[in-house]
Each structure stands twice: as C-alpha cells, then as structure tokens.
Amino acid sequence: MCSERILRVLTRVVVGAVALLVVVACGTTQEQGSGAPTEGEAAGTNGDGDAAPTPEDDETSDGESQDDEVVDLSQDPSRLDALIEAAREEGQVVWYTPNASATADEVAALFEEEYDIPVVVHRAGGGEILQRFLLEADSNRVQGDLVSLGSDVASTTSLVDDGYFECNFVPREFDNLHEWAQGPPGCWGGERGVLSIIAYRTDLLEEAGIDPPQSWEDLTKEEFRGRVHTPHPAYSSTTRMTTALLSDAMGWDWYERLRDNDAIIVRDQAALLDALETGEALVVGPANHSRLAQAKVEGRPIEVVAPEEGTFLGPSPNLVPVGAPHPNAGMLLADFVLTEPAQQVYLDAGNIAGRADFSSPEGMPPMDEVNVLPVDWDWMIEAGEEPTNMFADIFEVERSAD
C-alpha cells in the first residue's frame, strides 16, 4: 500500500514536471513566433505604452543632442554658476552608489556643505543598484540622479550604448583624471579605482616558513593547498572583470590548477577579508584592494601584493540617467566627486583616487610600480557572461562530479 502511494506520488510529480515543460515550451514557441520582430519594441517600452520617451527610443535623438548640448565645465568653467543655480532649483539629488556607506555619507555631507543641496544616498552593492536601476528605467520611473555601478564598466558601457544614460556633461577636473578613469568624453569620469590584488597573512606565512606569494601563479603552489580563498565572479562586478581578464592573461588552465589546489570559493569581498582576518585563509585573491589595504594600515598582519603578471584596475563611473528627476543636481554631484575634498575622502578610505594628481593610498605599493593589464572593453562586453560560466563550469560542475 505504501509503495502504491509512492508510485502515485511519483506519477503526479512526473505529470507536473511534464506540464511545466509544456508550459515552458509553449512560452518558447510563442516567443519564437512573435519575439523576433518586436524585440526592439519590447526593449524599453515594457507594458507602459504612454508617451514618456524610453531609453531605447531616445538613442538616436540623444546622439544628436549630445553634440550641441554638452556642458563642458573643463573647457568652460563659467557655466558652473548656471548649473548650481539650476541644481538648487531642483532641490535635491539622489545618489545610487556602491561606495562604503561611511565614504558615501562623508562625500554627501561635503556636497551639502558646499552647495546647500541635500543628498539622498542610496547605498547598495553594484549588482543590486544595477537591478534596481534597470527595473526603474524600464518602467519610466528613474529615481536616481547620479548612478554608479561600481567597476562594472562593461555593463555601464552597454547601457550607455543603449541610451540609458545622458552623455552631455564633462566635469571640471576631467583632464586631471588618470587615463583609466576617463570614460568617453561627455559620458563619465571615474571617481576612484579598484585594483584586484593578492593579500596574505604575514604572521601565519612566517610561522609556516612559506615564501610570500608574488604572482597569480604562486596561488597554485602546493603549500597553499586548501588555504587560498577566491571570490565567485557572479557576485561582484570587479571579480567578474578580473576573471575575464585573467582568463585571457593566465588561461583557464590556471583556474583549473587553482581548483586542483582546493581553492575555497567565497561569495563576496567581505568574506575574503573575513577569511584572512580569522586565519581561515593564508592567501586571498583576486581581491579588491581597498578594505585589505585599510586592514594593513590598521595594524593587522596583512600584506597586499600587486601580482607580477599584471592585474585589473577598474574605474568607478558616475552617470546621470536619462529621465533623472534632478539632472542638474546629478551633474553637479558628478562634478563634485572629482574635486579635491571628495577625492581626499576616497583616498583616506583606501581607494585609489581617480585623479592623477593624488598619491597612492596608504598600505599599497606605489601605483607606478603596479602592472596594470590593459582592458579592451569591447572584447569584455562581447565576452559577457562567458567567463563567469567557464568559472562556474570549472568550480561547480566539474568539482561536484569528482
């Protein structure tokens, strides 16, 4: 009787699964039938058929308006007053930023002091901001006036190409930025840089008599077996960019050797610092430099190394979205984050300042000694999720098959 019941349940499960697949298949064929021609339309117009211009539709008109309407403060600083005036009239500015909350709050406070315009800081991870911004933009309800997706320049660039962002503003300090922090003119300037590095525990390595790692290759050494923690590219944009870059520079077989060395996969950057601080990991990488360098400055037994083979350096673009409720205030803030007081805040928090006339952050090797790999953003956009999927194949599917 019992087996009979199990059989019946099994039948139901199978029927349910088949029904699900049928539904899925139907959805697919429908999509096949009607999807292709309407694809362009579907982009952006999502359910809301009214007159508000959608990002996609705007693309061409924006392209035209870019030329004649660019507010270029770097060439014509006198337009700043008009911008301040317009921003004050708008009353406030909403800033979507993946900065650490203390840093973002400090910059916001400085801005309020300078211009007397309140800043609403929406701090979240780059991934969450991207989600939220896309959903809001596609519903024609953009809420942010200045949006940063962190170091995910690939996504930012595709969104610029799709017309989600205004490209009509050049901040005063644009020409003072590092070359890597200069986006397409009029589109963005990077407020700060994030470097992917290796970090290790000085005391534990000394105790065990292990030579400190100097390169990516060193992470695959036998003495680090099971003690290397490395982040999953799906959960952090910097890691995603770094993985794509390293897959090219080091080859996938490096990742395979890393897996064979029992490397531990963690979800995010916070977990890396945690693993190092507790001693769970001897070495972590590729890691965002800022919190780790800060920890070193605070006196923790941690050392930060820029790997010999070269590494990823990502700028953090700030952009004003199309349809922002307070666009002028957004531009004013985009200008402000590159000014000296704001840049100093970033530097003090352990970031690499976007401006070339600032020194390297404390606890870091001097930037001119760091081997920064050149990034071909077009290739990066082309590669898309492929590197992440390859990483997952190596660490998920193949590992669990063992």
Binding site: V24, T45, D48, E128, R132, R141, R267
Partner: protein
Amino acid sequence: MSSTLKPPPGEIGAPPARESARARRHRWTARARSNWSSKVVLTLCAVALVAIVVYPLVMLFVGSFTLGFVDVGPENYTRVFIDPRLYSALRNTLWIAIGSTAFSIACGVPIAWVVTRTNVRGRGLLKFLVGVAFMTPAYQGAVSYIMLLGPHSGYVNRWYMSLFGTTEGLFDIYGMWGIILVTTINTFPYVVFLCGAALASVDVRLEDSARILGASRFRVLSGITWKLVTPAVLASALLVFVHSMSLFGAHAFLGMPRGVFTLPTRIFELFLQFPPDYAGAASLSMILVVTTAVLLFWQRRFLSKRSYVTVAGKTARPATTELGRLGKWICTFGCHAFFTLAVYLPVGVLVWVSFSESRVTASLDTLTWTNYSEVLFDVGLTKRGLKNSLMLGFGAATVGTLMAGLVAYMTLRLQTRAVRLLDYLAMVPLGIPGVALGVGLILAWINVPVPIYGTTLILLVAYVARTMPLGVRAADSSIRQIEPALENAARVSGATRLRSMFDVTLPLMKGGLLAAWALIFMTSIQELGATILLFTPGNETVAVAIFDRASDGRMEHVAALAVITMVITLAVLWVINRLSGGSVAARIRIR
C-alpha cells in the same frame, strides 16, 4: 429553508408582532446576511491575496518575457533546463531538503512532546530556546558556525589544535553536512511549533480510553497520539522541506566554498548577471513553486481521508505523562545536548564576538561595550534600521495574521473549489526566493498610482506576501482541530456566519492565530532577500544594516546588531504574551 429566501424589506429592527414570527424572521435575515457578508469578506480577502501575492508573481513571469534590456531569445526559457549546472544544483538542493526535513522531524517532534506533554522540569526554558533558535536567521547561523567550526579558524578547531598540537582542525563546517546542520537549526522550530500545538490539544480522553483498555504507554503514543498529530507533522515537514530549499544565505556561506551549489545560488546568479536573466531565474523559481504545490496537494489528499477534529466542545484537560527520574534525566539531557548545537554555541559565539574589539584576538580582558554604543548611538543607519524593522514587524504580523486566519478559515469551512485555490495561492511564496519576489514587487508596484513603491509600504507588502504560507499553515492546523459543530450550533441559534466565526471559532483559534502573529513577526524582522532590492534611503531595516556592516567587514557590529535584534524580538514577544494574560506562550502552544 432555502437560502434564496429574502427577508421582507424594512423588517430588521421592526417591533415583533408575535414571538414565533420574530424568531423566524430573525433566522431569515441572519441567513441572508450571513451569505452576503461572508461573500464580501471572501471577495475582499481574495482580492487582497491576489494583489499582494499573485500579482507580483504574475508580473515577474510576464516581465521575464518582456523586460527590454534582455535579448529574449527563443532558447531563454529552456536554456536553463539543459544547463548541466542545474542538475548538480538540483541534486544538492534535494539532498539538503531531505536531510534537513529528516533531522528537523527527528529532533522537533520529541522536543515538542517533551515540552507539551511531560513533567520534565525547565520546560519554560526549553520553550524559550526554541524561540531563540527560530529568531536566528539561517545566514546568521552560518556565520556563527563558521566562527565556531571553520576548519582552520573556528574557536572549537583552534582549541582542538592547540590542545593536541596539530595543524588540522577536527570539524569542517563547509559542505553539505554543514548546510544541513545550520538549516535544521533554523527549521526544526516549525516542527516544534506546529506539532506542539497539535499535541497540546489532543483530546486526552482518547488516550485514556486506550490506556483503560490495556494499551501500553508506547502503544498509546504510537497508535493514538502520533496519529492525531500527523497533520501537524505533515504540515511542518512540508514547510521545512520547501523552506530549506530556498535558504540562500546558508547555501552561499557554507556550500559555495566546497563547490556545493544549489538552486537558490543558481537563481541568484541569473539575477546578478548582465543583462539580468529574468526568464531563466523565473523558470528556475518555478521548480520551487511546483514542488510546493505538489507537496501541498499530496498533503491535502492525505488529510482529507481522515478527521482530525479533537476540540469538540467538552473540556479536554491538558495531560502530562509522568516520567520517572530516569526518563526525566534522559529527556533533559537529550534536549540540552541538542540545544547546545542549536542555541548555546551559535548564540554564545555571537554574544562573545559582539563584546569583543576584534573577534580574532578576543579575550576576557579586552571585552568592550563599544560595538553596542556605536551601533545604537553613532551609526544612523542602524538606528533607523531597528526602528523600521520593529514597525514593519508589527504591521506585517497584524495584517498577515488577519489574512492568514481568514484564508485558513474559509478553506476549511467553505469547501468550494475557489476557496481551495486561495489556499494554494497563499502557499506559493514559500517557494519563491526573496530576490525573485523583490523583482516581482518592483514590477508590480512601480507604475501603480498608489504610492507604494519607494515607500515603507512596499516592504510591508513584501513581508506579508513572504510570510503568508507560515501564517496560513499555523492557522490552518489549529482550525483543523475545531469541530464545525460548535460553530453550527451558534449558527442554528441565529448567529451569522461572521458572528459565529468571531464569537466561537476565533476565540478557539486564538492560540493558532497568536502563533501565526509571532511567526510572522519573527520572520519579517529578519527578511533580507527581498528587502535588499526594495528598501529606499530612510526606510532601511535592521537586516539591511547587518548586510551593510558585514560587507564593510565589521563582524563585531554584525554580532552586536544580531544580539540587539534578538533581545528586542524576545521583549516584544514577552510583552505580547503578558498583555494577553499569558495565553500566548501557552497557546504558541508549546505548553
């Protein structure tokens, strides 16, 4: 008397001519009004349920086809199903669910029995510990256990290594067993709550009769008590099974390091990629939804074969099994051994870290209050978070309990097909990962002229939706035991359906409803998955603050916030309990 009979107009309140006529008229009006009012309530409830639960999910599904920034290719929906990553993820998820359900039942049912039906001393403490285990979110449990049993850094392993001079720890929390352990700790309270409630209301006379007829104690337990609590065991197994499949935090913290990837991590990755793959994520979420529906259907079929009514109007006094000295000792030892793993160690380590300057170098000499003072007085985000979470917890628990009670009541008393559908709908969110619900809610409310999106209200809606299954299950298993005859008696005496419900069934359900309130309150106050997408500046919750502190690497702050949240939650529950004259704890019903 046909229900289509209408009372003559103007009849209500008219002075009666004759006594019998008055009684007759009263019955007519009552019947007519009862139909009318119950229909209105039913409709309102259905509308609210659809708006809060179904509408966002439909929008998620629709959105997965139409969202502009994805190139919706023809292969989008099927692609995820042919991905080999899905199958390893499915296999892992299934093992986690089976393991956690088995362990939760194996630990939860005996604890429920000890706490409700024995004379073991310190049952109040045990009750309290179950509550503490429940209000620790799974991701916090995972963090605590990494601090305890991290293979090289956990306190336990470090102690072991220094004791025996080895370089290898004794335990490794990462991997499948670690996930099952942490999940079980998070889910066994469901079993204790639901089975405890059922055990407490088992009619003792049934057991007594069996004893008188010569059945052994064990025979009574297995033949009668166990059979009577079967609905509760099934209901809780269902909850645990589906819930354990969707605990992203525990999976990500403990599984990922050893390559154990699961369905929730896969769904999360699809959301995070660029452009976000809503089609893939929605279709994977469907697996969880379908699992929930199938299990629920099976549970229904199983339960419909028998009656579980035990509250039938005459007093059923609470009975305790008098245990001997040895029995008491075994029960006490067993329970506390389990709670060492479930509460003492993980909560202890949180408290310890919350008082330390740095959890790595923490020692008795360096204990400090600074984490608490910073979190409570210096950081604006955490202060706002605590306030908002409390408000939202109260709001969601109250609204959610009301709706859950109505849904459960109608499902059981109005046996129509439409109503049964309501019950299924109310269970759907159980299988929806928080992040998916968040996306659905944004799509659902962003362009509605009612100011919900961008306000605290959207969080309230999210919490009500997410906790609906819990509320409905808790209310449902308590209604199931109430004999409809009690209510029918009220209706025969002339009360309307609503009146009989409010005067008879509700008071009897009070325990179940208060349990639902507490469950919803405790769950909402820790919700993270949907909140992280939906919060706006100014209405951050305590979970957002914890997440923020964690991504800043301040685990000491995380621990302090977790402890504060726990204390506040306990305080709220204690106050509620006192206000209702001590009946909640009795009727959350771990008596």
